[in-house]
Symmetry: C3
Subunit: 343 residues, 3 copies
């Protein structure tokens, strides 16, 4: 089970309850009243635990597992060992996520304001919100209800945070409007001035950055990521975006809904990602581009041109993935064709 | 106009005042006493607003714009729509920057020390400086006048900060001397021990890092960037350098004046950049190199050798940009020459 | 000498004492009672200072140096200038590190708890530990003896920190067990939820991240690096690992003993590095791989497959370094073979 110093377990739950959570069907012969009290991986699970099978690679582990129950797809049911109850669904990982969330629910937010927090008298804080030690909340800021503001977070003047958003320790927010139900992890910086200056032989001259950062509902921002405010237009993070750790988002960038930005990727100023774009780890997108809906940018790719909707690109400079595969094949031939002069 | 929750507007200003700010000439026929109260982009600006044209791509938007005034180059004057006053200069972006700075001046620093700040009695703080909540200032530190020290910033023993420097929230400074008029954004870490250790089969042995970080006047350091102190020599950031977010600068690195380091780039230990070098996003420079004055390192380039002054390089390993263009062309041919066996 | 605002010098020491520290032999004719009071580089050292020679490139500087003493290898002894005492060892850098550590010992930790620190009454803090201003320590946390907890660090509920570990300012720790004698630099985030969610057309569904981060003894973690907790298994950082600044380590990653991760490198989820792997700057390793003992991943390499023990790889996608050298040669030929149509 998960370390009780960090996680609090609920339950146990009956198999029929798990089936409902997972939107799954209980296999014939399983006892709907049998109790399950924990989750575990296939290879270590025991009778009181539930596991899941989402990937054919683990079919053998499934067949040998001692788990009392398993969330699995219908086509794998016949490989289940004797005595294992199945929770049958087309989406076992999703089903498992629901069960795990029920067994290990997030700790509820406990309303309160730590005595060392510095909340400006003109700031508004909604009911049910927890404000940790050392927090600073600036003038005219508006914090919603049921929010959690972690220790030493700094929330600047005028910032708005929607209901149910959780902000980690040591976060710095300014010049931004944050939606509802967001998760902003430790060390994130949102709203700093964009990297905007006039650059000529006389030296650099800062250009005022007069926009904001708008973070829509349900966005997750990973630890130590940075999002700059717009220069005039706003920087926009669409609803449900998932941003990993150490990601950089420049001024005026617009992310559509449900984009995924994996760790250490970066999006330069004024680029627009349409909905559901995936940017893999350490990839970079240059400024003023449009990346079409559902495009996928491979890890470490360097995107210098617009990418059409649905296209997968790879390489630096980035090209369609099929072309990159051919190029990589060509490279492999060059590596093997040694000592052929001047080819 | 900019969101008044975050920005305070000054003005209005008369056209003749704007012309002086922008070091521009007012076009013939324009009323020098007409008032302008805001900035806006060409396509949304109205009669009371000033815009700018810096790029031929926007000539059409310029010709159709309803802006009351526009900062523009002399050669574009004949495309201006009727009724638009022109502020004519060879450097419109620079002129615009000056006007925008006057219309939206940075909030003045308000002298004061928050009661929750912990300032060592041996530290010296200049007049006009603002010290935010939760700030820590160590023994014998010297903070200049008119500085702003953001909430929860931590300034170590002996650190020096020059007049007029602004330090963001959650910044950590140690073992460093910071110049005047710098901007150090949220989450920056300056002065940590460099990554120096003796490495052999017995294990690693830390080598004391006995240098400092010297940050000269007018430097900007972006959110969550890190600059390590020297091992013996100092790490030096030359006057007027512009450093973006999530940039890494190793021990003993020397940046000349006016270098630009775009986000997620990194400079390894003991490398020297001469004046006005530009390092684009996600580029990396290995240790112990010299990058000549005005050299330009393209995004994601991996620089393994010295770069002569003025040269532009690209690729990993990096090569002169013309060579990289040829290599990229060769790659495109390989991608197209499909199914040719073993070429 | 090192800036006394930041470093406190001990000593002086006699040459015979230095020889013992450095595990070196004093050269014939040197006065074992001569006193040395500082360290300095070969080219600036004077009679009261000790330097070192670890690299043939500096033989000329060695031959001209005015240092009173130098740590050097036996084969270079005959190049020493008259009057220089030698401390002879096969490992001069290691010997120098020991001497420098004695001359500039780390400041001792001064037991105490700042009045502004917020330590939960159920937390346990060992003797000799210093807790800085603005620190938060959560319920049931266990902090060892002789630890230093820097200003504004946030230590979550249940976190364990071993004896003698030093934690920098603005660090955020949660869901983790930290070993003894670790150094965790400013701005580090350990224990945030991994980047785990079920992703399908219905939208994203967070999968609870029920593991921890286990950091073994003697680990160093550089400024603003991030280490996510496991999804079920733990994320493990083996004893003695050296992690530089702005490094990302995903959930379930396992690092063996003594791995070195240079700045801005990233390890994706569930990948295992065996002992003594070196990951150079800006390199990335994709998820679910095994990197064998002692493998070396070059700067900016993009590792998509398992790497056998001892192998060096380079490139994106990464290949054995010899192959990459051939590929780079082939690229150079392509760059030179200009204007050959369609080859």
């Amino acid at each position: 089970m998960a370390d009780p110093r960090f996680f609090t377990r609920a339950g146990p739950f009956r198999l029929c309850e798990l089936a409902e959570m997972a939107e799954a069907e209980l296999s014939a012969g399983a006892d709907p009243d049998a109790e399950i009290s924990d989750v575990a991986p296939l290879d270590s699970a025991e009778r009181h635990q539930v596991s899941f099978l989402d990937n054919r690679r683990y079919l053998d582990a499934f067949a040998k597992s001692r788990a009392g129950a398993c969330v699995a797809m219908p086509e794998h049911a016949d490989r289940a060992p004797d005595g294992m109850a199945l929770l049958i669904t087309d989406k076992p990982y999703r089903g498992y996520a629901r069960i795990a969330t029920s067994l290990y629910p997030e700790a509820p937010v406990v309303e309160g304001r730590h005595k060392s927090a510095d909340v400006d008298p003109t700031a508004v804080v909604g009911p049910g919100t927890s404000i940790g030690p050392g927090v600073t909340i600036g003038a005219a800021a508006e914090i919603g209800g049921n929010c959690q503001i972690g220790p030493n977070a700094v929330i600047g003047d005028g910032v708005v945070v929607g209901d149910g958003t959780r902000i980690g320790p040591n976060v710095s927010l300014s010049h931004c409007i944050i939606g509802r139900g967001c998760q902003i992890h430790a060390g994130v910086c949102v709203g700093n001035r964009g990297f905007g200056f006039a650059m000529d032989p006389e030296g650099f001259l800062d250009v005022p950055q007069l926009g904001r950062v708008l973070v829509e509902d349900g966005v997750e921002i990973g630890a130590n990521s940075t999002i700059d405010r717009g220069a005039g237009p706003d920087t926009i993070i669409g609803a449900g975006c998932k941003i990993d750790n150490l990601v950089q988002i420049g001024h005026n960038v617009q992310l559509g809904r449900g984009c995924v930005l994996v760790s250490q990727s970066g999006i330069a100023g004024s680029t627009k990602l349409e909905d559901f774009v995936v940017v893999a780890a350490q990839a970079g997108v240059t400024g003023h581009l449009t990346i079409g809906r559902g495009a996928q940018l491979a890890a470490q790719s360097g995107v210098m041109r617009d990418v059409p909707a649905g296209q997968s690109v790879c390489g630096s400079p980035a090209m369609p993935i099929r072309e990159f595969m051919r190029l990589a094949s060509s490279w492999r031939r060059q590596v093997k064709a040694k000592d052929k002069p001047n080819e």
